[in-house]
Amino acid sequence: MSTATLPDDPQLRERFNELKPPLSPQAAVVESNRCLNCFDAPCTAACPTHIDVPGFIKRIASGNLRGSALRILEANILGGSCSRVCPVEVLCEGACVMHRYNREPIHIALLQRHAIDDFHASGEDMLPVPPAPLNLRVACIGGGPASLACAAELRRHGASVTIMERRALPGGLNTFGVAEYKLRAADSLREVELIRRMGVEFRFGAAIDSAADLEAIDAEFDMVFLGVGLGAMQRLGVPGDDQEGVLNALELIAAYKTGHIREISGTVVVVGAGNTAIDAANAARRLGAEDVFMLYRRGENDISAFDFEYEHARQEGVQFLWWRQPTAIQKGESGRLVLNTVQTQQVGETLVPIPDTEFIIDCDLVVPAIGQSPLTQLVQQMQNVAVRDGRIVVDRATGQTGNPRYYAGGDCVNGGREVVDAVADGKRAAIAMLKSAEAIHA
């Protein structure tokens, strides 16, 4: 059995054509030759998974493409999706010494993608020879990047690993939550398939919701990795925020990526100004919305989105409404919505609405994008697994929770960072589990 996949949709491909097209083989060699091959390179240090960047780049230069891909995958099994979704401007490429040399950093992401795409195209496996079996059974709860990375690392060393995924398809936010022009769901699934072929078992539709589910897992497995991510997106908390026509950013992104929404018309208001908000706003534009507004309760300089994401949204034609927040959503004429808003201002530490500054926006869709709520219900049923500020508390270097058999990583621990952070967490936890198992069996 291979991992299930999504039907190809030419319209989706055309509307969400890739932001950064791949390098041609010749262009990759030219670019790889530009790399200075720094010692203990800053790009490698800046990468949360510490991919040996000059190492894989110089393998491209020498024509050792297979070696290049393996160098990447050994450090980061999701190197393919990371090469597409990482905010490299603040990671490897941001750290490139070329900024202080001739200004243009090495195009690390494109080179990484080149090597990994070539590896996938070759149809090769990560583990042509299965490792000697290790007497360690691990359950990874959640099928997103953190669990995938943890599972791959464990499997590489011979552990038997089972990923429990609530949905019918694996990959978590990598499959369902990333703008399609950055990472196609199909590419995420292709990457998961590589991990499955390493011998990782997947159980789909496997929701772990109750104490009984946990007991079953405890009985079947030696250790557990929690890569459960965050909960649903937060509601706006204003009257009418749950009616038809209100669809949060992650729901919108998942819906268009899986073909459930293929067209949007009229006016869309996205509330929030983070990276996910921008992904949703851009998606609305590309799906056909004439006017897309991003409504943010603070100013341009306060947004959490990366600068390049903000710039991208402006290029997509997204319009911004600063210092304004929603107060209510009402049903308008002919099925449209009326979004009531008010201007805000900062008074000390808090934001307050300014009287008599209300105005309404007639719109067709309101998209809350003000963050995900913590997912703690299940975790609270686990013994000795502590949660603080909505995040699972772990030892930073090992990912171990207060319960020595339970490890955790990714968004449920860091509150919501990038794919590469989740991969790093999963890998660290796997290494710690292996060490711990070794100590037990020694």
């Binding site: 060699v29 030219v30 790889s32 030759n33 530009r34 200075l36 091959n37 720094c38 010692f39 203990d40 800053p42 490698t44 240090a45 800046a46 990468c47 949360p48 510490h50 230069a61 990482c86 905010p87 603040v90 990671l91 010494v97 070329m98 202080r100 040399y101 306060d302 947004i303 959490s304 930073r396 270097a397 860091n414 919501g416 960072r417 990038e418 590469v420 952070d421 790093a424 660290r428």
Partner: protein, 473 residues
Amino acid sequence: MPDIRVRGFAGGISSPNPFWLASAPPTNCGEQIMRAFDAGWGGAVWKTIGEPVTNVSSRYSATDWNGQRIMGFNNIELISDRSVEINLSEMAEVKKRYPHHAVIASLMVATTREAWHEIVTRSEDAGADGLELNFGCPHGMSERGMGSAVGQVPEYAEMITAWVKEKARTPVIVKLTPNITDIRSVARAAKRGGADGLSAINTINSITGIDLDTLIPSPNVDGKSSHGGYCGPAVKPIALNMVQQVMSDASSALPLSGIGGIANWRDAAEFILLGCGTVQACTAVMHYGYRIVEDMAEGLDNWMRSKGFNNIEDFRGLSLPRVTEWKHLNLNYKIVAHIDEQKCIGCDLCHIACWDGAHQCIHLDRVSGPIDGHVELHSIPAEQEARSRESIADTPVTRKERTAIAASQGPYPTPLARIPRVDETECVGCNLCSLVCPVDDCITMVRVDSGVPPETWEERTRGAACAPQPNQL
């Protein structure tokens, strides 16, 4: 304004500038040479004239380096495949239209006095300003007793030079092959034979590479290859050394036309500084076309202005006295590496080069002074890398986190932890770090007073029976 004209080179050849095209494909025919003169070349050595040959395809191959094409170039092409008549009638036409440019006939015929006498007379009748005897071609022709087969045997070289001089009315230049243990042996022979000038170097025997799919070396001629002649930027250092050897040897030295990887005005200036009166280019023209001469002329002119040189003779040979035998170098001259923290970009190539390729004295820690006794102890590069790989890094997702990173940079453009430090007490002044540093003038080699007067190896070992002095230990 500097005057870069060449006057009376090798006893009578003049040209508007010292930039000549070497005898090669760019000088295959009159039409090419006239276009080259229009582009600005001062002279041309005609593609070697002799009994026409049959060439093979393919003929060329190259060595690329780090994505740059043609660091070195190799050919298995023979001399002209056109008849002597056609070459010489075109030569007459070129001389008629370009009377002030230098046209040199490169010659290679069978080793008989009559054959040489005949070709000399015919070439000069066609209007050649000088003759270049091709004793250097290392492939093909040498198997037929010509080219380097002559140039590798001083007696033959001397004999043929003398035959040519019996007839020649124009200057005779002997082109030397580098495929010989000591290039001076043939230079001396040419001089004894009466040559008026020399040109050096011809191409170097080479196999440029092997196709790793077919396992056939290149150039591939129907599944087989043959050694060729190597030239281009890669051979310049070899050529400079041979030029220096010839020009520093009184029994070899003659007016010399420098050849070997000359692609720009800097290369030309260096050959002239070692005594060359003219320079010849080929590979760079085959790569980019005749147009490269414009920058050669302008660049040389600008450099001469900046140095106050009025003509070529003002600086010709100025660097020759600066080359000596090793035994005459000052053993007490001491330099140490200095890293400019404002210029350092943090690639740390100097660190790894010094640790793995030199003397382990460029460090990434900021410890100063001796620790653990006389010798400083430092973590080895692998430990340094391991620490980085074990560190925990997060993506700075919030504006606050990004601002904090920017603020932690320190006083230099590069974070201090990545700016290496030189242990001057251990630095031997080898230059390696300054050579690997990608940034101009970031690592400089600074002279330090060694506190001892200059002393050469020869001086130190003179009267070796004496006991060494304490400061010599």
